[in-house]
């Protein structure tokens, strides 16, 4: 089985996000960037499948500028065999990402595609779903458990009522939840080995697809500041305030 993992480079989750002073977007210059956290779960799961002998080749793909090589090297340090960077100067929307991934998938012919359930920068949560439709493959979203047996895929996903267990077949697109696993640390020797693993670069303009934006960003602003809390003396005062000042009960 061949597994393909999609990886996005995003502002590190620990960084305090700052809106640019011209309100055109979020500041990314000189800001620490990392692998999108649920994508790390996807990488970890692919590496596990290889360790279990279920996958024989695992590859990672990212779309972005040259700096996105970082996240691909990280994925290879965690155990991915080789990587593909689709070079694009523009930020792509989920449809364009899915179209790009489809072209890579048509070429690489993986049996399973794994990716994070959503990216923490735009929180779109669409790419996996659109991709499965474009490929006409089954999809499993927000998976928190995965088992593959005799070409059958058993997944669990958390829903409002509890855990939903589903079965589907390969090939499939699965998007990973943070509960799926604990991503490993890349060890220092493996980081060194990853520097020598193959990383292919493809220019997005050579793919012949429309990657133009369908959405226009008018303005990015910070959420309103929360007001400071107050101390109340007793329950009676609390109820009064909730009822007549906050008007929530």
């Amino acid at each position: 089985m061949k597994v393909l993992v999609a990886v996005k480079r995003v502002v590190d989750y620990k960084v305090q996000i700052r809106v640019k002073s011209d309100n055109s977007g979020v500041e990314t210059q000189n800001v620490k960037m990392s692998v999108n956290p649920p994508d790390e779960n996807a990488i970890e799961e692919a590496v596990k499948l290889k360790e279990q002998g279920l996958a024989n080749e695992i590859i990672s793909v990212s779309i972005g500028d040259d700096k996105s090589q970082d996240v691909l090297r990280t994925s290879m340090a965690m155990g991915i065999d080789r990587s593909i960077l689709v070079k694009s100067q523009n930020t792509l929307e989920p449809l364009a990402v899915a179209k790009t991934l489809k072209i890579i998938i048509d070429k690489e012919k993986p049996d399973l595609v794994l990716m994070g359930k959503q990216a923490i920068d735009d929180d779109s949560n669409q790419t996996g779903q659109i991709l499965s439709a474009l490929l006409n493959w089954p999809q499993g979203c927000f998976i928190s458990n995965l088992k593959i047996e005799n070409n059958k895929v058993f997944i669990s996903r958390e829903i409002d009522e509890g855990i939903e267990n589903l079965e589907t077949s390969l090939p499939a697109v699965l998007t990973c939840d943070l509960r799926l696993n604990t991503p490993r640390f890349a060890s220092l020797p493996n980081i060194m080995k990853a520097k020598k693993k193959p990383l292919e670069t493809i220019d997005i303009d050579t793919l012949g697809i429309d990657t133009s934006s369908k959405i226009k960003t008018l303005k990015v602003i910070e959420p309103p500041k929360r007001k400071a809390g107050i101390m109340v003396n007793d329950v009676k005062e609390l109820v009064q305030k909730l009822k007549y000042e906050a008007k929530v009960i």
Binding site: K14, V15, R18, N30, N181, S187, L188
Partner: protein, 545 residues
């Protein structure tokens, strides 16, 4: 825990810490002999993420290391265009005429930079030369051979829970060995501290080492208040005249100012809170006006090493060198340590190259250092900091004479009298200090400040702030000094709580908040707190600040 199998890697040179000193050593070594294999370990999640500095940068060492840096898209863009030195009282400020200022305080030809960005750039430069840099890996232990020579370091274990039990993602640290190990961890490095003691490197010092704590906030301010290239320093209010310290304010690119405060850790009153002095400083009418309508975008704090030449230890030992602020090469009256740290790193590279390729001793470091311009600078600067034990005004008059008339060449050397942990007076003899409440507009509480620093440590990992004697704070420090840790820590790591079971006050350590400034390791009156490396990749993210 049982002994684990550890992988081993071998290099010619192992460098601990990707700051200005360590990266200069790495770059210079590759320039001298491209075949040398060099490994740089960095505990931050990326190069530059634990670098916090003013910073007005003097390019002297960089000019030597990378003469064509101006053509290489470096992050050094903002020339100093104007400067002033101010004396503050609570409501007023008095400008000291530039004519009276000693040369060390003149910044013409220097640049306002983000040292974090410069280190990132130096890191990329080094990697292009073939240096292997590993961010996210803390050098937690030194390795010695049977003759007690340093032969490398062990990286910290990753994925341990707070009881040192391996978690799912456990990854044991590895042994990285080198013909020479370079310790460039910055001020009060924990391996540097170990070798100082083990090899008695400071036994010939005339003075104990001196430290300060520095704060830095970046503000985006109204363009009408912003004057790119302007550098201001101040002394005076809110500090009492017996406390060494002052402010800096540098107008950088993009309407940003780098606003900060440095306080000597030899302060006496256990009720003094360096953090609150800085917050209060911002309420001075001059600063308030400057910040009006602006927005704070980052916060950080770091200890700095101020002892200078009198406190500088021997910088070589069997198998290793101690350089930059890990040794103490900062020039205090200049308030600059980057160029001297870099030069100490360049000298280290020359000595190591001679050692590996021509069998020369590492002790050559001593004479090479003495014949360099760093030594000359530190020699001229040596009497300034100790003169401040006489109080602000006498010290300023003395410094004027010493620097302006005698050029730092007076025929005597003043000494520092006490180590910083010895300077506190008991709480009952000290005056309590009440600081104003934070307004949430220009002054802020510690939690919201730490939040801005991006500080994070993986949950459930072992505490990295160790108490040598677990009960000492309860039995002594809380009582005697009203636990100064709750005030000197700039990140709110230390809190005093009443324990109902013990019916006593206890010290609570929130080590996940730690911004790796090392102040507790320095200032704790009984030297009871030991800062060790947490899991690699943790701590603040000062990238871009």
């Amino acid at each position: 825990m049982s002994e684990v199998q550890r992988e081993e890697l071998n290099y010619d040179v192992v460098i601990v810490g990707a700051g200005p000193a360590g990266l200069s050593t790495a770059i210079k070594l590759k320039q001298l002999d491209t075949n040398l294999s060099i490994c740089v370990l960095e505990k931050a999640s990326e190069v530059g993420a634990h670098i916090l500095s003013g910073n007005v940068f003097e390019t002297k060492a960089l000019d030597e290391l990378i003469p064509n840096w101006k053509d290489l898209n470096s992050p050094i863009n903002t020339s100093v265009t104007s400067e002033d030195f101010l004396f503050y009282t609570k409501t007023k400020s008095m400008k000291v005429p530039n004519f009276f200022l000693p040369n060390v305080l003149k910044n013409h030809g220097n640049y306002i930079i983000s040292l974090s960005n410069l280190c990132k750039w130096l890191g990329e430069f080094a990697e292009n030369l073939g240096v292997e840099i590993f961010p996210g890996f803390a050098a937690s232990k030194l390795l010695y051979d049977n003759d007690q020579k340093v032969i490398g370091v062990q990286t910290g274990d990753m994925g341990l829970d707070k009881n040192f039990k391996p978690k799912d993602n456990y990854e044991p640290g590895i042994n990285i060995k080198g013909k020479v190990t370079v310790l460039s961890e910055g001020c009060r490095g924990h391996l540097g501290k170990e070798v100082l003691k083990k090899f008695n490197l400071d036994s010939n010092n005339k003075s104990p080492q001196q430290y300060g704590i520095g704060f830095k906030e970046i503000w985006e301010i109204n363009s009408e208040n912003h004057l790119i290239g302007k550098v201001s320093h101040s002394v005076g209010w809110p500090l009492e005249s017996d406390t060494y310290g002052g402010s800096f304010c540098y107008h950088a690119e993009n309407n940003q100012i780098y606003l900060g405060y440095v306080i000597g850790l030899d302060y006496k009153n256990p009720y003094l809170s360096p953090y609150d002095e800085f917050q209060q400083f911002k309420t001075h009418p001059d600063i308030k006006k400057l910040l009006d309508g602006g927005k704070r975008i980052s916060y950080g704090a770091r200890a700095l090493i101020e002892g200078g030449l009198q406190s500088l230890p021997q910088m070589y030992m069997p198998g290793a060198l101690l350089i930059g602020c890990d040794a103490g090469t900062l020039n205090m009256p200049k308030i600059k340590g980057s160029h001297t740290a870099m030069k100490s790193g360049i000298i280290a590279a020359e000595v190591i190259n001679d050692h590996i390729n021509s069998n020369k001793e590492l002790s050559e470091y001593e004479s090479k250092f003495k014949n360099s311009w760093v030594y000359e600078e530190l020699y001229k600067a040596r009497n300034v900091k100790p003169s401040f034990q006489w109080g602000l005004i006498p010290a300023m008059i003395f410094t004027g004479l010493d620097q302006k008339i005698f050029g730092g060449k007076l025929p005597f050397t003043l000494q520092h009298k006490h180590a910083d942990h010895e300077s506190l007076i008991p709480a009952k003899k000290a005056k309590k200090i009440t600081y104003p409440k934070y307004d949430g507009v220009i002054t802020f509480d510690k939690p919201s400040s730490v939040y801005l620093s991006g500080t994070n440590h993986a949950d459930d990992q072992p505490n990295h702030l160790l108490l040598n004697d677990k009960d000492l704070s309860t039995n002594f420090t809380i009582e005697e000094y009203d636990e100064p840790a709750q005030r000197y820590c700039p990140a709110g790591v230390y809190e005093v709580e009443f324990d109902n079971d013990l019916q006593k006050k206890i010290l609570k350590i929130n080590s996940q908040n730690c911004i790796h400034c090392k102040t507790c390791d320095i200032k704790e009156p009984s030297q009871n707190i030991e800062w060790v490396t947490p899991e690699g990749g943790g701590g603040p993210i000062y990238s871009g600040t």
